[in-house]
Point group: C2
Chain length 268, copies 2
């Protein structure tokens, strides 16, 4: 209609107005926005346009819709998050594929006698694989590792392909149990003489210890691994990208954000 706002979709303007009103406290968190019908009247726009505007708010995590109830204000500001992305296919696999593993020992270990804390008591025996990991072109090992597999899935350790595929991925293939969460704990440690000998470093030298717990969709820890790396052979590097919680960066770009929140969105 107007000559000025030419390029700007109206639902952008509506979304801006609504998110501004939310920031201003006109619609406090927890309350309901006006109904879609009311917004149509208020802005003089069709329902579809209003819905598109509300969708932007929902994508940004500012609001949520519930059929039969209304549109609830969820937060006052767009929350920002730094995210580390690990592409399941690329990063984790790459590590495994670029290194080779040598299994030194296989045993069934009671949960309370493992080197790392395991769920359950001594009556649950976890399958343990101990070994070394070598970089492709290096002769010296870059890690000493122990992998603990919950008893139910111990059978996967029989697979012959185990050197080239992460064990948690074997479990996924064979049992359909998926790692929906990975907890990781990184600390510095002094390398004990037994492990030091295998890694060919002096006893009590400095090492990096990484403990990973793989948690299934049902919340069950089904695999735990520990790696000990000589300090000079391994660094743990990661990159955190700024993103917006709860929506794709693309959607965010489409909405005018308050000044403090602007910035290029890092996309993958």
């Amino acid at each position: 209609m107007s000559l000025f706002e030419a390029r700007r979709p109206r639902y952008h303007a509506v979304a801006d107005a609504l998110s501004q009103a939310i920031r201003d406290g006109k619609y406090p968190v927890g309350t309901l926005l006006p109904t879609e019908a009311e917004l149509c009247a208020q802005f003089g726009l069709s329902r579809q346009t209003i819905r598109e505007a509300v969708r932007l708010l929902v994508d940004l995590g500012l609001a949520s819709r519930r059929q039969g109830v209304g549109t609830r204000v969820e937060r006052r500001d767009v929350s920002q998050t730094y995210v580390q992305r690990l592409e399941a296919v690329s990063d984790i696999w790459q590590y495994v594929e670029e290194t080779s593993r040598k299994v030194l020992k296989v045993a069934d270990v009671p949960a309370d006698r493992a080197r790392v804390p395991l769920p359950g008591d001594g009556s649950r025996r976890w399958r343990m694989l101990e070994g070394l990991r070598f970089a492709a072109d290096e002769r010296r090992p870059i890690a000493w590792t122990q992998v603990y597999v919950a008893p139910e899935y111990a059978a996967v350790t029989d697979a012959r392909s185990r050197d080239r595929v992460p064990i948690f991925s074997l479990i996924e293939q064979r049992f359909g149990v998926k790692a929906s969460r990975i907890r990781q704990d990184i600390s510095a440690t002094s390398i004990g003489s037994d492990v030091a000998k295998l890694l060919r470093v002096p006893a009590r030298s400095v090492g990096l210890s990484v403990v990973r717990e793989y948690v299934s969709t049902r919340g069950e820890v089904f695999e735990v691994t520990i790696s000990i790396h000589p300090a000079d052979r391994y660094h743990y590097s990661m990159q955190l990208d700024l993103a917006y919680a709860n929506e794709s960066a693309f959607t965010a770009e489409r909405l005018t954000l308050p000044a403090g929140l602007r910035g290029s969105s890092s996309r993958k």
Copy 2:
């Protein structure tokens, strides 16, 4: 129409059919999907419904739309990713707020003489703050730290509030430079005698070293920090959640995924 597909929106069915066709190779990556008009005819549905279906594909990262061109197939499968989320407001701040900092030294250091690699040559002098960090209830320090600030922003280190707010956040407030990426490198180290004395640990004992580089939207590194923690006083823990790339978990739930990709989506 039919009595059976009652609960299922038609655009879900369309999105399923299309994503299945993509998986089957009927629409290879890089090609264009049929135009919206064609899809309307093909499925006998209105344009809005078709658009809603395509929107699902776009949200999943399977396709992208370009005005005047068409809808391009971007990938064959939904890519999955493990993400670590660091809420800018909660996690990073919490660390700062739950610890206190004591600045021991302030200096301007040429880039090539810093303890960590800095961008630029010896003619660029970075503002360096060296200090200790204490846990709220502990008397012994949990970290020795050095913060290097690029010359352009050195002024922020004059702020009196610097103890309670991360420096990169001060830079953001004052200069509008936002950390769009944080690179982090974690390694084990032997603590040198100078630092050991300050941390009150024996010289050459084991420590965890964390180096962080803050990268601005323009790709410029504007702050670098190094922390050295006694091994027994600090662990770095993180949690990676399985997510779908390029879209909100909520949207993903709305589409029937191929068997291998199903699983609860962890939402925050």
